[in-house]
Each structure stands twice: as C-alpha cells, then as structure tokens.
Amino acid sequence: MNANPKTTHQKQDKVGMDRRHFLKVSGTTSAGLSLGFFLPERAQAADTPQLNVWVEIEPNDTIVIRYARAEMGQGSLTSAPMIIAEELDADWKKVRVEYATAHENLRTKRAYGDMASVGSFTIRRSQEYLRKAGATAREMLVATAAQKWNVPVSECKAALSKVTHTATKRSLTYGQLAADAAKREAPKTVQLKDPKTWTLIGKSIPRVDIPDIVVGKRQYGIDTQLPGMLHAAVAACPVFNGKVKSMDASKVENRRGIVKVLNMGEFVAVVADNWWRAKEALREVSVDWDVGEHGTLTSAAIMAHFKAGMEQSELAVARNDGNTTDALSKSAKVLEAEYFTPYLAHATMEPMVCTAWLQGDKLDVWSSTQNPEATLAVSAATAGVPQTNVKVHPMQLGGGLGRKSPQDFTRQSVMIAKAMAGKPVKMLWTREEEIQHGLYRPASLMRFKAGMNANGKVEALHIRVSAPSIFATLLKLPLNKGVDGQAVASFSDHPYDIPNTLVDYAQRNTNVPVGFWRSVGHSQNPFGRECFIDELAMAAGKDPVAFRLDMLPNTETSKRDRSILEAVTKAAGWGNQLPKGVFRGVAETEGYGSWTACVCEVSVNAKNEVKIHRVVIGIDPGYAVNPDNIVAQFQGSVVHGLTAIFWGENTIKEGRVEQSNFHDYRMMRLNEMPKVEVVIAPTGGFWGGVGEPAQAPLAPALVNAISAAMGKRIRSLPLKNHGLTLKA
C-alpha cells in the first residue's frame, strides 16, 4: 500500500478480524523479524556506535531505534520508528525498537522532546525531528563510506542498511560503517526524502509489540513484579474531593498478610502481601468520610445548572461571523434543537496502576502512564526528592484513552511508597474505583438555532454550549476570552459556508472532575453538529450529502472536508437502492489535524432493536504512515464509540457516580460488533492524527441513520435511554 498523494482511495475490509488469520500473520512476523525489546537500562555496550539519540547501530547490523512516547495500543511504537527507518534507509527486518526514558530525557535536557502520548500527537508532532534524525544518521553513514572509497558522496547510495558505490558496485553495511560514522560531526542541514520516494512510510507493517503480546511476554504496568513487593488497594471518598474524617481498621489490621492500613487524608490504602488480601480488607475498613458540601449533588441538579447556563446573560464568545441575531430574525425558516451528551468514565481495560519504590532519596516508578515526564515530575514532588533521583520505567499501557495522562494515581502510589519507604509497593485500583473516580468526559448541553432562506440555504447558525471546562478545572489554565476550546470544538471551527455564525459558551463547572476522554470535544460536539445539519437538510428537503457539499466553500481546508466526504460516500454507495427497512446516515468532521467521514446503514425493528448493517468510516490523515494500523485504530474507535453511543453514561446521585462496574457501565460485546469498512484517503502535504478522529463522525452518522429509520429525531446519548438496544 502506498500513502503517496493522489493515490486512489483505498478501501480496507477487515470484517470480523479473523482471529486465526491474525495469529498466523503475527506468528510469521515474530519468526521473521528479530524485533525485540530491552529495558532502556540495559548495559549499553561501550562499542555500540550511537549516531544520535534515536539511532544506534550494532556491528552485526542490528539497528536500535528509540521510541520516546507511550504505547497504549495505538501502534506508534511501530509507526514512529518507521519514520526514522524510512529516512535512514534501514532494513526494517534488522530494526529493534527500544524505549527512551523520562529520566534520560531529563539528563539530556530533553533530547527526545515531548514524551506525552496525547491528542493524537505522536506522529504529527514528532515526524519532523524523527525524519531529520534518520536522515542525519544516513548522511553520516554515506559520507563515511564515500571517504573510505575516496569517491564523491553523490556516487554513493543508501538502501536496506547498506551503502553502495554505484559505479564499482562496492558496498558496505551500516554495521561496518557505524563506528566511524559515529565519530563524524552530524550535518547541520539534511535533505529529507520526497514523499514519492518513500519505501516504508505508507506500507502496512505489523506492529512490533504484537508477537510479545500474543505470547504474554510483554510487560504492562499491571505486570510489574519486584522482589519483596507489597500491594496496595485504595479507596477515595465516594463524593469527589471529600476527605477522611476518621478511620477504624481494627477489624483487619491483624489479619494474615495485612501490612498496614494508611489514612492518607484524601484516601485510605490497605497495604498487604498480595493485592486480593489488600482489596478484601479494604472493604472492611470502616471510614467516616467528610463529603463536604457536595454530598447531595444529582444529575438532575447538574442538568438544571447547565440549563441555567443556557439562559445566563454573559457568555464567552468563541466565534462571531456576521450578525447572527439579526440574520435569524430575518430568516424565512428557523429551526431550534437541544442536544445532550453525558459524563463518561474511560474504563480502560487495565485500571490505574503504578508501582513505586522509595529507597533513601532515590525513587523508581513503574507506571502505565501516557506521559512519563509528568509521572517523573509528580513522583519527585510527592516524594520530596530531586527530579534527577527519579527513574520512570516505561511500561506498556493496558489502554489509556486519555485517563492515564493526568497523574492523580501516580501521586497516590508515591504517597503510599513514601509511607512504606524502602519497600516497593504496587498500587492497583479496582474497576469500581476506576469508574467512580474518573476524570470524566464532560457532560454537555448544546443548543442549535439556524435560519434558512426560502431556497433552503442556511443563512445563520447560533450554537450555545453549557458545559464544564476541562482546561479551567483540571489544568487550571487561563481560558482565552473565557472559552474552553474543547467545549466548543468543531463548532467554533465548523467548515460550512454560513455567513452568520455565533458560537457562545457558558462555563458550568460542577463537583464532578472532568478530563480528556479520547477525542475530547470531538467525541460529543460533532454528534450535535452533524445531527443538526441533517435536521436542516431534511427541513430544506435536500439529500444530506448534497446539502453538506453545497455548504462547503472552496477553501484550502474545506477541499479536504469535501474529498473525504466524497471518498466515504462513494465507498458506501450513497444513493444506491437500499433493502426495504434499511436506512443510511452520514456525517463529516475534522479534528486532530485529520478529516473524517462516516456512513452507517441500520434498520430498527418494532422492538426498538437496532441492527447495524454497515459502518463505512474514512480518514484523510495527510500521510498514512502505517495503513493497517490506521485500520486497527478505526476498528477500535468504532468499538469504543459504539459502547459510548449505546450505553455510556455516568449519572450522579448523592454526589457520587452511580455506576460501578461493567454490569451497569456496559461494554460492547464481540457478537454485537458490526462490519467496519475503513477508507484511507490520504491527500498528502500534511500530517494528521489517527488515534482520536474516528470517534467524531461515528455517533452522528449512526444516529442520523437511526433517526431516519425511526422517523423520529434522537438528540441525546446514550441510546439505551431511548429504549434502543443493539441487535447482534
């Protein structure tokens, strides 16, 4: 597969993910490629030449490429090194990927740059320096060979880990050249490859971590085992921000295996010789919580708080084109609708886990973290040791979804380790703790009002959002003109040619802590926007796709909205006759630097059971680095997205989250998973994100189809609240 610009749109169909085929492929990979992992602490052979911090070449031609971000299943542990290998002209079969560490980054004054895996940033924010790192190393190797042969550099070519002198056909391997190349000064400027000449970027390369995952060798944060390690189970106040008033642990203190019961002020921890004992004992520790003033909060009160935000007089203005109020008053037809999306916990497969070991003023941390540098900073501050004394050991994450970038759990773990100084302690949350102490995707109330002229052209659009601000409450960042960019994402930057647009925002915070849930604002706002656009299309009596295409202006960015919408609707056969009772829905979005569109085909029976016949979902990420990984990301996003769309909802009663585990916070099941067809349509010239954008068009496309099937507009999620169930 080729990711060059102007390639034909490619449709990838991986129906049902044939497990046997998958295992076969992975097995071959593991045998064929010697891609392994070492902890970065491995003794570095003094004679292993390092061309720069990213590339090390061993005499046996093994190329070690470092990866500085986190791997939580998103696949960048493979795609980011591919980018270096591309420019290096490395033989991928001889590449081994190793983690860079946060402490090494600190020691080298951030030689590896930002290490966070958030915001679908890994590829788009690091591609430039990764390409340069690869190209620099390649030029050093080529120059070394040219010098050895005493020929001009221009007569030498690098390919597949070898430099060849074209005229004489002499060649030297990278392993033979590396020692001398490493002594050279790195070139200050390098020529990056023309994307048309890429041989690795754009190819579907199996993920390097899969063989180890399949045989159970891969170490996740939860797998950490250390000699003499203790285990901790924790419970925070069920009402957010509450404190421990008093605690009575007399019932469990003398039990077998219980080492200590800790009152940490904000939470209670039981430390034991194994986790099950700790967790069971914790249930019998009697805690009197000081719940503060928020012990009576309910979902209804939160909704009233949001509704009041809709009517408040002073609002932050996120976008103001033309004169919307005036245009609305003059419109031939005005439509108004309110949409709502609920709070959502992340429910990562692996709950929060962190192991910490404080020995004197030295601290070691093994954490499933999306941001190892933040882990280092929080660990040092909590333990009260210098940052240079902290080591954060990279572990694979059993899912992150945005929950594992804030470091509340790291702080808890290091607090426990400090109380148990000298002993390593692994702190693991229960599923209940994870669901009830999340940093939730904010609930959001959105009001849309649009005015159309007599020909059905939309002249004015007013979108008002009443919702909490993640930036103001979690990150405590100053808001630009009072606007939280995520609360109005995809509204303030909607691509449609509507001359009068007003987007305003009422910041309505509650005691429920909010955070970054995969796709963040794009996980909810496109649902409102693209469903309301469908309402407008219907009111105008126009086909939803034609209606959108008509509204897309001819600008540089809008042509990408147009091209992805065209690519996906073509792949889905939009306009073709559907079987009786089957209905389609469409949506088009942009976010995280990529453009996405989705078409869903559904039928709804008399029992309100929704059958999803088809999901066609596509992306224009500019360049598609590892297409099969994009397919996997999109399939995963559909699983995650459908879970949220049908069942995802955290409700509040007496100040606490009512849901506690998978029985009342339901996940998608294997047999319910519909067919997903992924359209990868890269137009080149930019680097967009992949991990998050797929969530954006899925909910509106699906709900548009369901609304069409039911002849009734659905304006809130999850669908279970409308009596709808998913038919396997």
Partner: protein, 161 residues
C-alpha cells in the same frame, strides 16, 4: 530582640502571601480585560517595563524550581540573590516574570537590609512551558536577573492542529 525576630518572620510571611496572591488578582483583572495567554513575549518585553533602560546584568541570582512540572497550576519557585543586604548595598525588589502568562509580572517582593538575605520562596501558576525570569532591583538602581525554562508537560488530548 525576640519579639522583633517574630515580627520579622510575620512580615516575611505576609510578603510571601502577597507574592502568591498577586498572580490571582492580576489574572482576574486580565480576564476582565480580555487578555489571552499562549503568546510568548520577548525577554525585552518582559523586563523593560520594570528596568526602563537601567543597567541589567545576568548574575548573582539563583533560581530553584523543578525543570519539569506536571501541570502549571502550582509550581514552587525559590529565588536567591547574592547580596550583602547592607544599608548601602541591598536588594530592594525581586520580580518573578512569566513569558507566557496573561500577566507577565507574577509576583513582586519588597526587600530591605532588615531581611538579612534576599531569598524568597513562592508558588506560581504557569500557562504552559516557558522561560521564567527572576529580576532583582538593587539599591543603587541597577538590575540583576536570571532565567530558567520550566517545562509544563502537556497532559492534554487537545486538538491544537
């Protein structure tokens, strides 16, 4: 003597409180004025409103702060200025300046020979990775400064494309 020492300490404490309170007050004021953060300003733009062309040298100041901050909401900073703190030669002010916050001057401490040493500790709020400048005004009207980059790790799935 004892009573005086106690008073001094109280005086110092209240000064520190002022240091903490300033960014908040100013922040609100700035918000009302519709100022925004995010843009990094130049070193000259940071210091000149205070220095006003007087002599400015980078020496004699030590900044103690974490290189990495998990988020910018609460970053401890210590500033020590080498000075005899005598009647003739002392530090009169220490300013903490932000390159990127809505309000550049995060804190100002007034000092005099009665302090004994020019050493202040406070906590500041930082709107993202930026250079922090500690600026000291001496009794002779000259200025000393030092700067430090503090990395506020971006633990945010934000779409800043």
């Amino acid at each position: 003597m004892k009573a005086e020492g106690c008073l001094r300490r109280k005086g110092l404490q209240s000064l520190l409180l002022v240091g903490v309170a300033w960014p908040w007050l100013n922040g609100r004021f700035a918000h009302a004025q519709g100022m925004s953060s995010g843009r990094r300003i130049s070193f000259e733009d940071m210091v000149q409103p205070i220095v006003k062309g007087a002599k400015l040298v980078q020496r004699d100041i030590k900044i103690e702060a974490p290189i990495l901050a998990d988020n910018g909401s609460l970053v401890p900073v210590q500033v020590q200025v080498q000075s005899p703190m005598s009647e003739q030669d002392h530090v009169t002010h220490i300013y903490l300046l932000s390159q990127r916050n809505p309000v550049t001057q995060m804190a100002m401490f007034q000092l005099g020979p009665w302090n004994g040493r020019a050493d202040v500790t406070t906590r500041v709020r930082l709107a993202g990775t930026q250079d922090l400048v500690a600026l000291a005004r001496l009794s002779n009207g000259e200025f000393r400064y030092n700067q430090m980059e503090i990395i506020v790790t971006e633990s945010a799935c934000v779409d800043a494309s």
